[in-house]
Amino acid sequence: MESLVRHGVDTLFGYPGGVVLPLYDEMLNWPQVKHVLVRHEQCAAHMADGYARSTGKVGVCLATSGPGATNLVTGIATAMMDSIPMVALTGNVNSWAIGTDAFQETDIQGITIPITKHNYLVQNVSDLPGVLEEAFYLANSGRKGPVLVDIPKDVFIALTDAQFPETVGRRGYKPSAEINPLSFERAARLLKEAKKPIVIAGAGVIWSNTSNALRELAEKCDLPVISTLLGLGNIDRNDPRSLGMMGMHGEYTGTRAVQESDLVIGIGMRWDDRLTGKVNGFAPNAKLIHFDIDYSEFSKVVTTEVVVPGDLAVSLPEFLANAEPKTNPEWWAQIREWQKWHPIVIPQDKKFVARHVLDKLNELTDSNAYVSTDVGQHQMWTAQLYKFKQPYQWMSSGGLGTMGFGFPAAMGAAFANPGSEVWAVVGDGGFQMTLQELQTAVENQLDVKICLINNGFLGMVRQWQEMFYDNRYSHVSMGSPDYGKLAEAYGVTFFRCSSRDEVEETIRQARAAKGPVLCEFLVEMEENVFPMVAAGASNDNVINDPALSQATLTEATK
C-alpha cells in the first residue's frame, strides 16, 4: 500500500480472494486509496486501462490467484498491444506451495510473459519494495506497457524492514532508443525536397505529450496530418491540417493522399496492417521517415529511408528546429479536392443509422467528452465522426480489438476524472460481454453514460459476411435482453431512442442526468462502414460509400 501511495495512485480496481486477504485487510488502514470493487477481474484491468488512457498515469488493478489472475489476461493483453502503462498485482498461493497444484494456483507469471512488458514473482518480502518501485518505473517509462507483479500469500503477510530504493533503474534497460543527431538533418533534407509530404501521427505523440510540437511542425512546414486510430486527439480534429484517420476504415482523403505522396513521415506509430493495407502496395511513390522510441519498430513492417530514434519529447522539437519552413499549395489543393468529394456520409433519408447518433453526440458534447468504444462498426463510426480535440480523450482497443472494453474503460476514465463527461459507445455484442459492471457503476453513482448502438447484429462480422462470404450470415444475429428492464433491475437511468428525430432530446436528457445512464439506440440493422479497404488489399482499392454521387466515384478513379 505504501508503494501505491508513493506513486500517487489514488484508485485501484480489484477483486478480493483467499490469498490477497492480507492486502485487503491492510487496505482498510489506507483511506486515501480508493478501491473499486468490480464484478469481473477482466474489467478491473480495463478500468485501470481507461484510467491510464484518460490521464497518462499508471493504472493499477488487483486480483487473487488462479481464476482471478487468469481473468485479468484479456485486459493485460489489451494494454500490451496498445502500450498502456499499467501495474497488475496478483496474489499467489504460499511460496512453499507453488508447483504443487495447490487450490487456486496458476502460473500467472508464465501465462503473462508474452503479454507484459515485464513481470515478477516475488519470492522474498525483502525484494517487494524494490520490485514494486521497478514495476511502476518500467510501466511508465520508455515505450509504456503493463507490468505484472505476482505475490505469494506468505510474502503479503511477512514484515520487512527493507526500504524503498532511492533510485530505480535496471541494468540493460534503455527506456528509449538513443537519439541520432544526424537523423534530424537527413529527415529535414527529405522534407525540404518533398513536394507532397504527409504526416501519420500515432499514440506516441499522446504518451510523450508532444501534441504542440506536432501542431507547430504541421504549421511550419504546411503538412497534412493523419492520425492513427489510437492517435486520435494528437492533433485537434478541427485543425484544418488534420485529415483524420486513414486505412481500412479511414477517410478516403488520407488513404489516397498517402498513396500519392512522395514523403510519408510516421511519428510515434507502428505501420499497423489496418493502416498500411497490403504492405507492397503502400505509399508506392513515397520515401518514408519513421520516428519512434522503440528501435525494434524500425524496418519491422516497412522499409524506411530515414529512421529517427528516440523519445519524441526530444526528437520532435529537435526536428522541428531543423526543418525549414515551406508551403505546399498544389498538394493542398489536391487534398481539398479529395476531401470535397469524399466526406463521411451522414444519410439524409428516413433510415435511422448509428452515424446520426454519433454525429449528434459529437455536436452536443462539443467534441469535449471522454469517449471509449468497444470494437466493430460503432468503433469505426465513432473514430470517423467524433472530432477529438486533445490527447487522453479517446479510449479504444486498437491493437487487440477487445470487445467488452468500452464500458469498463469509460468507468476507469470516470473514476479518474470526476465531474467530466464520459461516454462509452458500445455495440449490443460488446456490451453484453461486460455489462455486469452496471452494478459497480450504480454502487459508486459513477457519472458514466452509455451510448448503446443496438442493430441486433455483430455488425462488423455481418458486414464481412455480406461482402466477402456471399451474404451467408453465420451466427451474427445478436439477441439482447430488454435493456429497459435490465437498467431498471440495476437502478440505472434509461432512455430508448428509435428514430433520428429523438436523438437530440435523448442525448440532452442523458447529459443532464446524474449517475450511470444507459441510452439504447435502435438503429438500422444492416448498415456498412465506408470507406473500406478489404483485409489484405492495397490501399489503392478503397471501396467508397455507395451513397456518394456518381460524379464522386468518377473522380475517385481518375
Binding site: 508464465g110 515478477y120 519470492q123 525494434s296
Partner: protein
C-alpha cells in the same frame, strides 16, 4: 534474402522466468531457434546465453532488436565467426565389436575425439569442435552404427574486440 544460421550471444539477468521469456519470444515471433545454451558467467547474478537462429538478415535484425527489448537482456550481439570462437560438444555412442573397434578408434584419433567410455559392445566418443566437424564425425561413424547422439548446442565467445 538467403537463410542461414546466425549465432547470437546475450548477457542476461539470471532471474525467475528469464529463459522462459527468451524462448517464448522465439516461439511467439516465429523465429527459428536451432539451439539455446545458458550458463553462469564472470558476473554474479548474470548468465550468458548463446543462441543459434536460422533466418535471413531481416529476421536476424528483428530477432536481435526484440531480444534487446526484453528486460532480462543486458546486451545482445550477433557474433560472426571472424570475431568469435564457436564450439559445440557432442557425445556419440557407436556399437562396436572386435572387428569394427579398430576402425572406430582410427576415426576418433584422426578427428580428435576422446574415448570417454568403452564397453565390449560399444564405444562412446566425445568431440568438441565446430558443428560442421561434428557433422563430419557423425557421417564417418554412421555406416558403422551410431546408437545415440547427444549434442550440447553451440557456445560462442567474442574475441578480438
Amino acid at each position: 534474402m538467403s537463410t542461414r544460421f546466425h549465432t547470437i550471444s546475450a548477457l542476461v539477468h539470471n532471474e525467475s522466468g528469464t529463459l522462459n521469456r527468451l524462448s517464448s519470444l522465439f516461439r511467439r515471433r516465429m523465429f527459428s531457434l536451432a539451439s539455446m545454451n545458458a550458463g553462469d558467467c564472470e558476473q554474479e547474478g548474470l548468465s550468458r546465453v548463446t543462441m543459434v537462429v536460422q533466418g535471413d538478415d531481416n529476421d536476424l535484425r528483428q530477432c536481435v532488436r526484440q531480444l534487446d527489448k526484453l528486460l532480462d537482456v543486458i546486451e545482445v550481439e550477433d557474433l560472426n565467426s571472424n570475431q568469435s570462437v564457436q564450439r559445440e560438444l557432442a557425445f556419440i555412442q557407436v556399437s562396436a565389436n572386435v572387428e569394427s573397434r579398430r576402425a572406430i578408434l582410427d576415426i576418433a584419433q584422426v578427428m580428435h575425439c576422446e574415448v570417454v567410455h568403452l564397453e565390449p559392445n560399444s564405444i562412446t566418443l566425445q568431440v568438441t569442435a565446430d558443428p560442421n566437424r561434428i557433422d563430419q564425425v557423425v557421417a564417418l561413424l554412421e555406416p558403422i552404427g551410431i546408437t545415440q547422439i547427444v549434442r550440447s548446442g553451440l557456445v560462442a565467445i567474442r574475441v578480438n574486440n
